[in-house]
Subunit: 524 residues, 2 copies
Amino acid sequence: MKMRIEVLDTTLRDGAQGEGIIFSLEDKIRVIRKLDELGVDIIEAGNPSSNPKDRQLFAYARDHLKPANAMLAAFGSTCRPHAKAADSPECVCLAECGVQAVTVFGKASRHHVDKVLETTEEENLRIIADTVGYLKKKGLLVVFDAEHFFDGYGIDRVYALDVLKTARDAGADRLVLCDTNGGTMPWDIARIVGDAVSTLGGYIGIHCHNDAGMAAACTMEAVRAGAMHVQGSVNGFGERCGNADLCTVIPGLALKLGKEVLREGSLSRLGDTARLVADTVNLPMNENSPYVGRSAFTHKGGMHIDAMLKNPDTFEHVDPGKLGASRKYLLSEMAGRGALMTRLREIDPALKKESPETGRILGELKQLEADGYSFEGAEASLKLRLLEMLGRRRSFFKLTDFHVVCGKPGDNENSQAYVKVSVNGQTEITADEGDGPVNAIDLAVRKALARFYPCITRMKLMDFKVRVVNNLGTASGVRVAMETTDGRHVWSTVGVSSNIIEASVIALTDSIEYMLCGETEGWD
Amino acid sequence: MKMRIEVLDTTLRDGAQGEGIIFSLEDKIRVIRKLDELGVDIIEAGNPSSNPKDRQLFAYARDHLKPANAMLAAFGSTCRPHAKAADSPECVCLAECGVQAVTVFGKASRHHVDKVLETTEEENLRIIADTVGYLKKKGLLVVFDAEHFFDGYGIDRVYALDVLKTARDAGADRLVLCDTNGGTMPWDIARIVGDAVSTLGGYIGIHCHNDAGMAAACTMEAVRAGAMHVQGSVNGFGERCGNADLCTVIPGLALKLGKEVLREGSLSRLGDTARLVADTVNLPMNENSPYVGRSAFTHKGGMHIDAMLKNPDTFEHVDPGKLGASRKYLLSEMAGRGALMTRLREIDPALKKESPETGRILGELKQLEADGYSFEGAEASLKLRLLEMLGRRRSFFKLTDFHVVCGKPGDNENSQAYVKVSVNGQTEITADEGDGPVNAIDLAVRKALARFYPCITRMKLMDFKVRVVNNLGTASGVRVAMETTDGRHVWSTVGVSSNIIEASVIALTDSIEYMLCGETEGWD
């Protein structure tokens, strides 16, 4: 039988300590639902005595949130030196906030007991025993986080292990070894966890930070050494360099160590979870993230792509299907015919690698790239170009003329655009104003086209990026990349010109045309 | 004596295979200069037979780039089966492109020899020996990259080691074990590198990919097992999930393993290098990156900050000073004052950390940053803002009015700008035309000012980057970053507005003013 590893997610507690990460009450509820769906065992959702938002959350959860799989946990500290847990408002708050599980942290390093807690080693052990005992009597599952355990072990092994024994003897259900400063190396984690497991037995857990870039590796080593409970956060969000990234650790445990983790089918929901959490805090998803990033199974080098097309296991360490992901080939100056063929065959299944048309199209694409185009992340423009090269691009409209006037800014309508479009021989001339020239043209073109294609009123520009493609000053080439949505689909286009307005207009008209293609001929 | 570890940087080759990463020729030259300054031993700059840009780069490098510390390396493949290296255009191109070092890759996995190369095991060994031998005869330092070494070792240990022996016997100077698919675990890397080191002796290197999130840990384990040469990229840029991040590995080798790596003082230049490389490809810096991210030494949790103020080693695994970084506290009166003080004292040595002026300036800067400004990589704009906040900004000119008209592009002068400037009460009205609105305004403003300040005719815009600072479409805020030169100095400015033209004008007028400052009051 496979060994089952328990997962505690701390995205909403330790993750919320990351710079720029703020969860509203509604955000937390949304993330809890998603983590429960994913199959996380314990969701550490906040620290009720540190802020009113978390108190509100637990009050709400008690009546309205019934996770199907997960236990909800609240986080807090042991009582203070010379106090009793039962008289400590923080401990009472933890015990009474309505959760089934609590994570309580105590100091495992003599240095921290002395310098931060400013008490004696004995008193530290007493408050740990008292707090754990108090929470156990309340019928809670108690996860004991031994803060600074690894640094403390380096200073005084016996004391660090005594802290664990104290918590265990007081009834703690999990003893979690924390690399709070994130500087411990994987080989040291392996050695020290091994020692704790053999000295104490019991249910050992691991909590790593990523300050040395090793949190995921350290977590894996801890499990190899006998830890059965892992803590981490989605996308590795957390203070400083973050926590162990559960999106890396969970597939690693399942696929590399052969452990049972979360539930059947969880792996294929991990990517969605990662994206939802990033969206929730309005941070960009790291697309290079192992297993869950959009680039994780994206191939660019020409020789790599050719090899992948011969045999898909040649450049992949796991099957992307296991993660609910799919393989992608990029077209770039480094790509050969292999990558192109997968795109061309979507348009015309009869096309062959050796056919002269394929060679011609590859040549035209390389010329466009030499001119500064980049079709990576501009799939919509690529598709339109390929249709055009194959003589299959349908003309929906022509922007036959425009000009735009920009005055000294000061209000929000500082730019005026005049546009003339033609659709099937019919002409429409109109104008609009906007904040900046591209905004004014965008509004005017869509106003002119709405008469013919009402659907385009649903279009909304999401992102807009500009980059000079060679360093000759403003008169050199600029590449404009745009991301557009209609509320259901998202697509990306690109335009290149020596003139930023023209480059924007190319990306914009591609974007409109791609939407019209999708609406009339079906979305990809 | 400390063991010295050699570093090969492949940002410009393997890094360029990352999705969305495109280096122009000028970009590559800029990055090479920075890596050389950092103290990298070998800079793998491109693959001359895969694309014309890299051929151009090496041709340029031969005559114009003389790195002070680094060797420049070109990357390529062994010759094809049944061919001779001396007759193979790719191998000849590698040998003749003018570098001192080459990285040549060959297959170390039986599976790849059979399925991708489609030849016999013996023929694969022959082409490796022939290619390495040919390149050695040309007097080059030969780094042999054993592709898919770890997967190959798992399939057939003897054959994988035979590949290394063949390369060594043919004269290869470095034998680099590549985890090409990035799926090997650190403990397996340690075991297999240990075996290769003890079986072969010789100068073993390591090249890891990050598909399982373990590339940095794997690289560290390889060095512990005896590897003396490490390959990786700045910010971990690279195909799929990227390569081992040198910004994590280099501090790890120096601070955690006590190895000698790069040069004296290199660690404190690492952050700058990371930022320059990210800026060059117009990707956001990952601010949670170990050692070099802005959040790496940023404390947010209230209890953590309290502990840090009592004793700075309580929540840091290394001293940020070693990385040329500084500690930051969020949500705290103390935040950022230290860093700000160094800038303020350059302007007014009498200013104190506690003075009310310092607090006011900090507040104003925070407001600008909340509006979307970012002064990192825009030192010229920062200096002007600080002078202004201290009431010491000198007024050289005012752009009192402008407007610009852009027609449908077609020729190179599609935009006309009218500008009105005033200098010491004197007014100059003029106009000019250009390729795009920013170019037209730039030309017109400088034409108007040249009467008063002839030196500005030497000014030349080098780079121009635009990014939307929140995702509300073209009407949202845009940040324009500009880089300007007068042939001797290079400076960077930034402007933010909801209107791209206004943002550009702010960056442009800052740039002109900074130059006039430098010319009249001395350059920094």
